[in-house]
């Protein structure tokens, strides 16, 4: 089973077309293995991206260097998954 230890979800706010294209460049980069949950589209819609733990540093550096605002909405995805698994096990019981 795939594990997500230390993986985080970033919510990135985009304010203009330039920021959307910068962000598209980031999410299209294959080597970072990003999983886009909400794509860059319109300005008033934040973008949610699952960032694997190994890519946290480069992604943070990219966002900071490009002046893109972001916050971490899920600190550790595996913790959420473990809770969900536990809940499912209880329900099965």
């Amino acid at each position: 089973r795939e594990k997500f230890f230390g993986d985080q979800v970033f919510r990135i706010n985009v304010r203009n077309g330039d920021e959307i294209s910068k962000l598209s460049q980031l999410v299209n980069s294959n080597n970072l293995k990003l999983n886009v949950w909400k794509s860059p589209s319109t300005f008033n819609r934040p973008v949610d991206v699952l960032v694997p733990s190994v890519s946290l540093q480069p992604v943070k550096s990219f966002l900071t260097s490009q002046g893109l605002e972001y916050e971490v909405t899920i600190e550790d995805l595996q913790t959420l998954l473990d809770n969900e698994d536990e809940e499912m096990r209880q329900n099965e019981g």
Binding site: R1, E2, W37, D48, L50, I74, E84
Partner: protein, 311 residues
Amino acid sequence: QERSSNNFNYGAYHSLEAIYHEMDNIASDFPDLASRVKIGHSFENRPMYVLKFSTEEGVPRPAIWLNAGIHSREWISQATAIWTARKIASDYQRDPAITSILEKMDIFLLPVANPDGYVYTQTQNRLWRKTRSLNPGSPCFGADPNRNWNASFAGKGASDDPCSEVYHGPHANSEVEVKSVVDFIQKHGNFKCFIDLHSYSQLMMYPYGYTAKKAPDAEELDKLARRAAKALASVSGTEYQVGPTCTTVYPASGSSIDWAYDNGIKFAFTLELRDTGTYGFLLPANQIIPTAEETWLGLKTIMEHVRDNLY
């Protein structure tokens, strides 16, 4: 609290087998109204079942298609669908609105449109979205079943990279799960409404996704979507954004509701169910029933409008 003969917990997430078993139970509990119909199979040969709600046998009556779980990781959609199935059955002859809908129309409900993906999310990767078909020459599996319909296939907002989350597949209807639904709907020939349930981000959208061009019925669809969103919000204040897919979220070609609309099913909507993003695709189970309850009012508003505006 919904009646249930077998203690199925609607406030919990379940395996595919448990959902299929509960569909069977609903059909047994309401033999004069509901039946479980196999419409095809998945790539890995799992059956695809719909629940058919009908009060009259014979010539296909005007019908409503409710679709859920096309993106397998969006678990709230499958959970909402199975709650909705029980709700339709138990409200018939109790709620005048649903009774009158079912006296005029049939409802077909597909709770798990992507069974392989759903099983994969429970056994291998919780965040899986696509089907599990093989892509010859690529190490990556699956296609996005909501980019695989024959509606401006391979256009904007879809990828030709099999490793992408929005890979459109080698050709329209290449995914057997999509083809099964297309074949069934075309053979039936009298569907008037198609609603696809997704998550997350609280949106109610109508065609088109593949173009920013306005759909001919955009005005009516917009008004109806706004009424449905208002009804939905009346339960606990969940606010939905309303608009065409292309300009409300992003351009997306090959989507289910665009195909439905271009094939004469006027009342075509996509709902993105409740989830602010705090939980991503892991909406806590204690929010399943609140989500299903509010969604139900939105669905009912649309279905009542369809009943009163058959064409």
